[in-house]
C-alpha cells in the first residue's frame, strides 16, 4: 500500500479546569478547525456519540462541545487498550459568530459545526442533523 500508516494517538484525558457535574472520565476529542472568509468550521472526532448525545454551547465567545457516548458491550474485559468516556472541549472564538446560524451535524462519530461569521444575514436555528 502506498501512503502513510495511521499512528496510534493516546486518548487525551481532560485535566479539568472546571468541575464536571457527571461522574466518569472525560476525554478531549481531536479537532480540525479552519476558516474561510464566510465561516469557521470545526470537526471533532467523537466516536461512540450519536446526534442525541451532542451538546453545543456558545456563550460570551466560548464555544463548548460535549459528546455523551452510548452503547453497552456484553461480557468482561479480556483486552483493554483504550478507555471509554464522554468528550468535552472548549474554545475561545475571536471572530464574531452569528449564533442564530450555527449548524451542527453528526456522522460516523464525527461532529461538524459550522459557525458563520456575523456579516452574513440569514436567520436560522441551531439544529443537530444526522446524515
Amino acid at each position: 500500500m502506498d501512503g502513510k500508516d495511521i499512528q496510534v494517538q493516546d486518548k487525551k484525558e481532560l485535566e479539568s479546569s472546571g468541575e464536571m457535574t457527571r461522574e466518569g472520565a472525560f476525554f478531549v476529542p481531536n479537532v480540525d478547525i479552519f476558516e474561510d472568509e464566510n465561516q469557521l468550521v470545526l470537526l471533532a472526532d467523537m466516536p461512540g456519540v450519536d446526534k442525541d448525545g451532542v451538546d453545543i454551547h456558545l456563550e460570551e465567545g466560548q464555544l463548548r462541545i460535549q459528546g455523551k457516548v452510548s452503547g453497552e458491550v456484553p461480557g468482561e474485559y479480556v483486552i483493554s487498550e483504550y478507555s471509554v468516556g464522554d468528550y468535552t472541549r472548549t474554545f475561545t472564538l475571536s471572530n464574531v459568530i452569528d449564533q442564530e446560524k450555527i449548524q451542527a451535524s453528526m456522522k460516523n462519530g464525527v461532529l461538524r459545526v459550522v459557525l458563520p461569521k456575523s456579516d452574513i444575514s440569514k436567520p436560522r436555528k441551531i439544529a443537530v442533523k444526522s446524515e
Partner: protein, 158 residues
C-alpha cells in the same frame, strides 16, 4: 508529578566519591532515569507495540466482542478477514479536502492506512461473525466455536 525521595547521605560526600566509589554516582543516574520515565511515560513511545486501532475485547460465555474506535469511516473503508482463531482488520481513514485557501487553526485528526491482526485463545465460529459500524465505533461479535465452549459433564451415580 513524581516525587523523588532524596537519599540522605550517611556523611557528607557519601553519594559522590569518598568511600561510595561508583555506587554513589549510579544512584544519582538511576534516579534521573526513573524521573524521565515517569514524566514521559509509555504513551510517548508509539513504537513500543501499539498498533492502530486500539481495541477492547470482551468475553462472555458465548462470544468474544471486539470494539475499536474508527471515527469518520464508512464500512466500505474497512476490510475484515477471519480465520479459525484470528481476525484481521484493515482499512484506510480518509479525511476529505474541505476547500481551497483555508486557514487552519488546528489540525489534529489523522488519516492513513492501518492493518491489525488479533489472535484468540479460543476458536471462533468464523461463519457466524457479525460486524457493525455505528457512530464511528466498529463492533465485531465473534461467537465461540462449539468445540471451545465449556461443556458440562454430568456425573452419574450408579
Amino acid at each position: 508529578m513524581a516525587i523523588i525521595k532524596l537519599r540522605q547521605p550517611a556523611y557528607p560526600g557519601a553519594l559522590f566519591g569518598q568511600g561510595a566509589g561508583d555506587r554513589g554516582y549510579n544512584v544519582f543516574q538511576n534516579e534521573m532515569n526513573r524521573l524521565f520515565d515517569r514524566f514521559l511515560g509509555s504513551g510517548y513511545d508509539p513504537s513500543a507495540g501499539s498498533v492502530f486501532p486500539p481495541v477492547n475485547v470482551f468475553e462472555d460465555a458465548d462470544n468474544f466482542t471486539l470494539t475499536a474506535e474508527l471515527p469518520g469511516m464508512e464500512s466500505s473503508d474497512i476490510k475484515l478477514d477471519a480465520e479459525e482463531n484470528s481476525i484481521q482488520i484493515q482499512g484506510e481513514r480518509k479525511i476529505e479536502k474541505e476547500g481551497e485557501n483555508l486557514c487552519y487553526h488546528r489540525k489534529e485528526r489523522e488519516d492513513g492506512f492501518f492493518s491489525r491482526k488479533l489472535t484468540f485463545r479460543d476458536k471462533i465460529d468464523k461463519e457466524k461473525i457479525a460486524a457493525e459500524l455505528k457512530n464511528g465505533v466498529l463492533k465485531i461479535t465473534m461467537p465461540k466455536a462449539q468445540s471451545s465452549k465449556p461443556k458440562k459433564i454430568e456425573v452419574k451415580s450408579s
